[in-house]
Symmetry: C2
Subunit: 151 residues, 2 copies
């Protein structure tokens, strides 16, 4: 029963905004009884081409991934102070679940499908091997939907 | 790689608090191109035995379930005005993702495991065929963990 708008019926990721990723990653690792994963940083603007609300932003974030649940990965995200959906969420809500992510094919077409139902892009960017788009789906779905596409 | 504390490595549910479940269920159904699911109400205190922060509460909620994603179900929850984790979340945060749910066996033992790492029960109750416990895991995990046990 693939969702027609998204072309997928699998949730792959839950993204959680944290204040201090070193501390949070240590606590998650203790809870799940695993080693603390590597903490990586999103790439600089020249590579990530990050856009937030249609404007370029130098925002970056530190990330850590937990793959302890077999059907979904948990991504911890610590934003920097530049404008981004990550920073906005932390300032408005504090720490918590920021997004639900799905893998898509042909992201441009999926974004067009979402625009037709009133859901536009709030932030997008590139990473090595793929790209992402956070959708402004909060009003309709109560959470931010992230589209991920690996090449 | 089953989690030792929980005895499971599968996330089964994402719970979302909403202001108006009729409106939200309609919007979700439109988005996923499915029929609006039945909206049910949690049982009255005499059957649910709901406890919130260690005290009995008459809190109830309206629920709607979406099973459009094949690896995880989405639960919409509209709380009433009585004290509950649902009401507290809505008052503090507004609409959004309230919990991540896992099925467990031998819930009492799993709760003991969680207490040992500093995570106590915030709300618990019975439903026909099973029981649930929301854990006070926000400080450590940034989300509320729900334990579900069907008999």
């Amino acid at each position: 029963m693939a969702n027609e708008i998204l072309g997928t019926d699998v949730v792959v990721q839950i993204g959680i905004i944290v204040n201090n990723i070193e501390k949070a990653a240590k606590e998650f690792a203790e809870f799940f009884a695993v080693d603390v994963p590597e903490i990586i940083e999103t790439e600089e603007f020249e590579k990530s081409h990050t856009e937030y609300k249609g404007e370029p932003t130098r925002a970056r974030a530190k990330l850590a991934f937990f793959r302890n649940f077999k059907n979904i990965e948990i991504e911890l995200i610590e934003p920097d102070s530049n404008p981004s959906t990550w920073r906005e969420f932390l300032d408005k809500h504090g720490e918590g679940i920021h997004h639900i992510g799905v893998f898509v094919k042909n992201m441009d077409q999926k974004i067009e499908n979402l625009k037709k139902v009133g859901i536009d892009v709030v932030q997008r960017g590139d990473y090595t091997g793929g790209r992402y788009a956070y959708m402004d789906s909060v009003e309709k779905l109560k959470f931010i939907l992230e589209l991920l596409e690996n090449y």
